[in-house]
């Protein structure tokens, strides 16, 4: 309990914690549509210091993060669409990005700490997620089970909470679990 903060500061930090929770959930719902453009355009800092890390390492600076998380991700979606359209002609005219897959990183077990000055926040989350898709190049739908842990830093920019850093640590990625029916 941060008793040294005034009541007003505590109220504002409680509201900030809820805002950060929403930012994190927005990530899930935007990523579920593979809408990387909206995700990085809306809820990320443009800072040269921002970073996004996974098992492969860390992307640093907004331009590198954008290339890795938006440009390259869109390329995967376009490539997937080019493999789909002859087998499934109904994909014509539809945004290729959500057709790639629904990557749903559900969020539980959150811990959010807002800084005393109310200008930044840090969060931990566990995601017992699923990645599923129906129309695929190999003509078999799939549902992968993917559990990960997030460490996230957020900053308040122009009155809006945005990501500054994200570190994703995989727990396990189990593809096609017939014993779970997925």
């Amino acid at each position: 309990m941060k008793n040294h903060l005034t009541l007003s500061q505590r109220i504002h930090n409680a509201a900030a914690s809820q805002e950060v929770e929403n930012v994190k959930a927005r990530h899930t719902y935007l990523h579920g549509r593979a809408d990387a453009t909206s995700e990085w355009a809306r809820i990320w800092s443009r800072s040269d210091d921002c970073s996004w890390a996974h098992a492969f390492g860390r992307m640093r600076g907004f331009d590198q993060v954008w290339f890795g998380s938006v440009t390259s991700y869109d390329a995967m979606a376009m490539g997937n669409w080019l493999e789909l359209y002859k087998t499934y002609p109904e994909v014509g005219g539809k945004d290729p990005r959500p057709l790639m897959e629904a990557s749903v990183h559900t969020l539980v077990t959150d811990i959010i700490e807002v800084a005393d000055d109310g200008q930044s926040a840090r969060g931990s989350f566990i995601t017992p997620g699923v990645i599923h898709s129906v129309l695929t190049a190999h003509q078999e739908k799939y549902c992968n089970v993917l559990w990960e842990r997030y460490g996230s830093d957020f900053v308040l920019e122009d009155g809006n909470w945005v990501y500054l850093h994200e570190h994703v640590c995989g727990y396990f990625n189990k593809t096609r679990q017939p014993e779970l029916g997925c």
């Binding site: 009541l7 927005r26 739908k141």
Partner: protein, 254 residues
Amino acid sequence: MDKISRNYSDEELITRVWDVENIKKLVHKRVYYLAEDRRADELKELWVSDPKHQKTASFGRNWGYYTGMDEIKAYYVDNHNTRLLEQKELNAADDLNVGNMYAHPASTGLVELAGDGKSAKGMWYCIAQETTALADGTADARWILEKVAVDFLKEGDDWKIWHIVIAMDLNCEAGEAYEKQSVYVDWDNDPVKCEFGVPTIEKLLHDPTFNWWDNYPFMPEPYASFCDEISYGPEGFVITADKVFAAGEGRNYK
């Protein structure tokens, strides 16, 4: 704080924080009511009670909406209870719901309280499990993945559910290889669709064949006050020109 909340006094802001926490609790309570199959209690205690709001309440699934609390109750409680009585008799069970399970834990909450504090919108995702006991002593156990979108109203001091849309992405039998199942789902034999019956407004709201391409239900955004355009009731479902489709449309070209 977002651009809206920065303009609130401390007292207004703590009221908003409190409201959001109560809205989260309301949705979590619904999960427990569902698990205990207390559907009538859910409608009575967690849903709107003002007759004006009850008239415009709605319950949507992939295939349409039930509108008005009478229609919702007929589907959600009465028809369900009739099926449970039939199951009890068929299974020679001692009681209703013997061997059944309804687990829909809610995760990934996103709550947007209106600027005027009178309404709110929220979204959750459930990796759910439902089991139905069968007469031969076995059970039909299913994994169900679903997005849940809710409109809330404040009635007096209490937050209540007004509109709900449960958009199912996947429904597969546990223990069966999902990838070996038919790519196109036979919805007419889907247990959730069969249970949903024929809604007041029959309309394809979410076709998971294309994952989340149709973007329904859409994610809640910050807003000042409630209007039909952003509703999770039937008023807010709009098929834009680039989303004109019927299930299977464009599929048959060789």
